[in-house]
Amino acid sequence: MVAVDDVNFTVRRGEIVGLLGPNGAGKSTTLRILTGFLPATSGVVRICGIPVASRTDDAKRHIGYMPENNPLPEDMRVNEYLYYRGRLKEIGRERLRTRLDAVLELCDLKRIRHRIIGKLSKGMRQRVGIAEAILGEPDVIIMDEPTIGLDPHQILIVRDLIGSLRGRMSVIISSHILPEIEVTCDRVLIINGGRIVAQGTPAELRREVLGRTHYHVHLAGDLAALPTVLAQVESTLVIASASGPDASGFHHATLTTTRDEELGEPLLRALMARSYRIRSFSRTEPTLEDVFLAATKRSWDVVDLPGARVPIAQRPRPGPPT
């Protein structure tokens, strides 16, 4: 079975990249290959220029990794665990002591440093996991679903924590929770069926995948004359849908355009000039959710095309991520 196929991406220094995909899309497998925990059947992964497959140990020194569900030993204390992990990450005893304090401070774990991990709440455990990942000051931090199963308040804390790493370390996080990725990440990779189906900043993705901007107007007036008014404002602006007049003669109309820049002001001005009565006017931002659904749907459409089902062995496979 092929879990990840022909995935190719680059993460810049200090950037936070989100890996987004439905369950079983290959997110965890991709991350495991990045960490050197799983070998890829073909392709090259480079962490800070070090090929992971041939120099695994060197590459691992540059990575802080928090796996899915954040497994921690139940019967250790927080500071004992972090100390042990620090030693495994080859941090000298002296430096480890200062690092430990810094990390406990950053993740707000000072109060619970002597508690046993098995008795911590999920949010605290998650913070211990993140503390562990950043302990060795790695260049790359990889986190598999860091906010899964947390309450909104804890999500906020974890999100701030990840945000605070921006600029210092490259962070790759995976999630299927969209607002999560949208808020924290500089760049998003949408992955489905083991392939990258879209990538870019959230704004780029909206443009690329959906390709249009929507305006919502609640107005009364001559609907038949509206298209000509719109065409004068912007040639690609059309009515996508319009409801019939309600009791007071107002219509709900959705206008779309392929142009990305703000058309609100000229549009409003033109409508007012033609004495349309307007109750509300808004530009609706497509959410990342729409983008995600559109992108994954598009990728399934490609897969389902007749003739697109090339046997895996014959498919060219340039290889997983760089």
Binding site: F37, M66, L72, D75, Y84, R87, K89
Partner: protein, 254 residues
């Protein structure tokens, strides 16, 4: 090998802070004490040809090994794999070999510690019944050396079983089966009619060489035979290599 001592340190600490280790130690010492008392009863009733230490060590092979080896080893990998911490462990710059050796050494040290504590039984006997006939020094030293040497292989087998199974219970059964094959299987298979075939003579010789009870007899007579040492050392090395390979194969096909 720079991580070996970090892992060893951690593993020993984990075994020592764990209540179940102490529980196992108490139960183990209770059972051994019970057996020892029973042996002394037998000796006090009628004269025997061998010293009590000799019988004690025979019981070690036939019985106690099956309790103590799974107890000290079944958790080592199964637990880590079940909880997923093996993944975090192997994404640090440690090699599988270091992990296996660290865990193995920790289990072996605890194994030695538990066995060492049974020396207290002989001390009590010496203290309350200062009868030189009961305490044959050669048998005692040879017996404990044998326990230390054979423990290398037995603990390795336990760690191997633990690396194969995600479930501790399965690890326990696998370890028991392998130990049984090694300790009794060699003897039983030598007794079968099938093994008397002339063509199987090399197999018969090999099995004869692996007679664990025979090794114990030699050791407790004070004979430390390098062939026996060779058997246990190579067996241990082979089992540990298989453990490393098995663990890596398991990761590949996860």
């Amino acid at each position: 090998m720079r991580h070996f001592f970090t892992i060893l340190n951690h593993e020993i600490r984990m075994l020592l802070v764990n209540t179940s280790t102490y529980l196992a130690a108490v139960v183990f010492l209770f059972v051994m004490g019970f057996i020892f008392t029973f042996l002394l009863e037998v000796y006090s009733e009628a004269a025997q040809e061998t010293s009590p230490a000799y019988d004690f060590f025979r019981l070690f092979l036939g019985f106690a090994v099956f309790i103590i080896v799974p107890l000290t080893t079944m958790k080592s990998f199964s637990e880590e794999r079940r909880s997923g911490t093996l993944e975090t462990l192997l994404t640090t710059p440690v090699s599988t070999t270091e992990v296996v050796l660290g865990k193995y050494s920790a289990a072996y040290l605890v194994y030695l510690l538990l066995w060492g504590s049974t020396a207290g039984l002989f001390y009590l006997l010496h203290h309350f019944a200062a009868d030189p006939r009961l305490l044959d020094r050669g048998t005692l030293i040879g017996g404990y050396v044998y326990i230390a040497v054979s423990g290398l292989l037995f603990v390795a087998i336990g760690v191997f079983a633990s690396a194969l199974a995600r479930n501790q219970a399965v690890a326990l059964v696998v370890a028991l089966a392998l130990l049984f094959l090694l300790i009794f299987g060699t003897k039983l298979s030598l007794g079968t009619q099938f093994m008397q075939l002339a063509a199987l003579r090399p197999v018969r010789d090999a099995l004869d060489y692996a007679q664990v009870f025979q090794h114990l007899d030699d050791f407790s007579r004070g004979i430390i035979d390098t062939r026996h040492l060779f058997f246990y050392f190579t067996g241990t090395a082979l089992t540990l290599i298989l453990t490393v390979l098995g663990l890596e194969a398991k990761l590949l096909h996860n």
